[in-house]
Symmetry: C2
Subunit: 333 residues, 2 copies
Amino acid sequence: MPDLKYDVLGIGNAIVDVIARAEDDFLVQQKMPKGGMALIDEARAESIYDAMGPAVEISGGSAANTIVGVAGFGARAAFVGKVKDDELGRAFAHDIRAAGVTFDTPPAADGPSTARCYVMVTPDGERTMNTFLGAAQDLHPADVDPEMVAGAAIVYLEGYLWDPPHAKEAFRKAATIAHGAGRKVALTLSDAFCVGRYRAEFLDLIKTGTVDLVFANESELKSLYETADFDTAAAALRADARLAVVTRSEKGCVVIGKDATVVVPAAPIGKLVDATGAGDLFAAGFMFGMARGRDHKTSAQLGALAAAEVIQHIGARPEVSLKDLARQGGLPI
Amino acid sequence: MPDLKYDVLGIGNAIVDVIARAEDDFLVQQKMPKGGMALIDEARAESIYDAMGPAVEISGGSAANTIVGVAGFGARAAFVGKVKDDELGRAFAHDIRAAGVTFDTPPAADGPSTARCYVMVTPDGERTMNTFLGAAQDLHPADVDPEMVAGAAIVYLEGYLWDPPHAKEAFRKAATIAHGAGRKVALTLSDAFCVGRYRAEFLDLIKTGTVDLVFANESELKSLYETADFDTAAAALRADARLAVVTRSEKGCVVIGKDATVVVPAAPIGKLVDATGAGDLFAAGFMFGMARGRDHKTSAQLGALAAAEVIQHIGARPEVSLKDLARQGGLPI
């Protein structure tokens, strides 16, 4: 087995978030399903951008946010994802490296621009997303370095990788290398619409043990098993998955293992400002705990802590040191 | 006199802020004078960007922030400034238009990229700025539309316009047109280092009545008259200026007229998060009051209200409606 160089290596769509506040009326006018993530083409991207309010640009991308969170706890983290060599691509690369993450994927020299996610944050703090995949479309298996994957304790993959044409091959390649090197593979189901697009394939990944750890929120879980009943879906997931964590917003989370189920409450917050990144940062804390050999409960508490931090401000990346936050909260780091 | 189309027209450097949190140690290592604004070339910009932490990109520019604030109060506002036709330039144009500001200056098709200001926010909320002027260098007198200027009650100009080679000609052209049309001209001294660069010219603008209203903070005022004594400097400004407002951070402001001096306290805040834009937004509120025919005290209260909003979050543009805020605060709008 090669030396362990990283605690977590993430592979995902490299995206810059363009975040604006919006009223619920705006979502209705624009026919945006609230709380969801829609894929859009460049023409629609321009039309949304023209209509939306003043925005801020902050690096995002689901798996990228998670990996930044892992690094924020003080762990060794790396990311693989495709930007273009343009201003937003350079901002993405700067931000993730400045957060302490190894990021070596060469940017695309031509083709579509760096991926952007137009995020509308309604007054209730909920986020509604529209993603133009752009350069993220060009992530190929060749971008996955076998040595890097084999040197990571956990490889973390996002369900959104099923959207770009070749990224799922990169996903499968990474999973095969990781298991060949005795490493773990984690998957987030990303969002309920994504599960709707790729349900059969995601179930196959889980049932065949291609992934060892599954992250899902309540609506993704229900979409996966096409049921409105949480307990039914959770029982099905227990039967299918080696280990799974289901996040339930303010109700906390449920860690579903083969032997035991652990319920952990959400961490207290002041005001919900922007829900973007809640699930991403939960996964960061949980995997950080796992990488440090913590039990499920402690790992979930670390996840809850990170999620609570990120929803109290605009943007999906932590604004303070998660390591310090965990220390202040009496959690092991 | 042409019809009044705008309450305030601003002319300034069109800049995107790249904002990161930084410790005081970082400023020392990077030899950045705390609280100041330094002009940097592209090589230094890259070196700073490489060294600084994860950042967010938010449209900025001193006069542009002010004009967005004026629009936020519900007034008619326009801005003249030069971006390049690149990603950050398009973001700048989108954000200022989405805030309700008329912005028609054609972007530069080639030449340096859109101006960026690298803003380091230290734990005390103070901001330290490094500006790469980029495309803002290319603002020319031809970018100033005489009809637009003549149709604005107040033309607002920033001292920073003395930095790009041709922008001060644009400034002088606008001032001449405004006075020819019976309009008012306002100037902000921008920052103490800027005053140091152009002291004689700024004093000339004030003494000759080229500007009718001067905005300065305490350190700019002291720099202008090269004295450490506030009262001495204020007395000199009273003698030289038709009307001036000196902002003093948490001590509030002083409106210095020929006949009377009015002291107005700062508006209360929760926590100082990022001081960027405090002076800019004060000027917005004050000029909005003036444009609505309010007295000096009420205008200064509107300024204090806007400044208080912008320093309680990251970025120099208001995050909520200033109109609503003024209404809630019992101020006339």
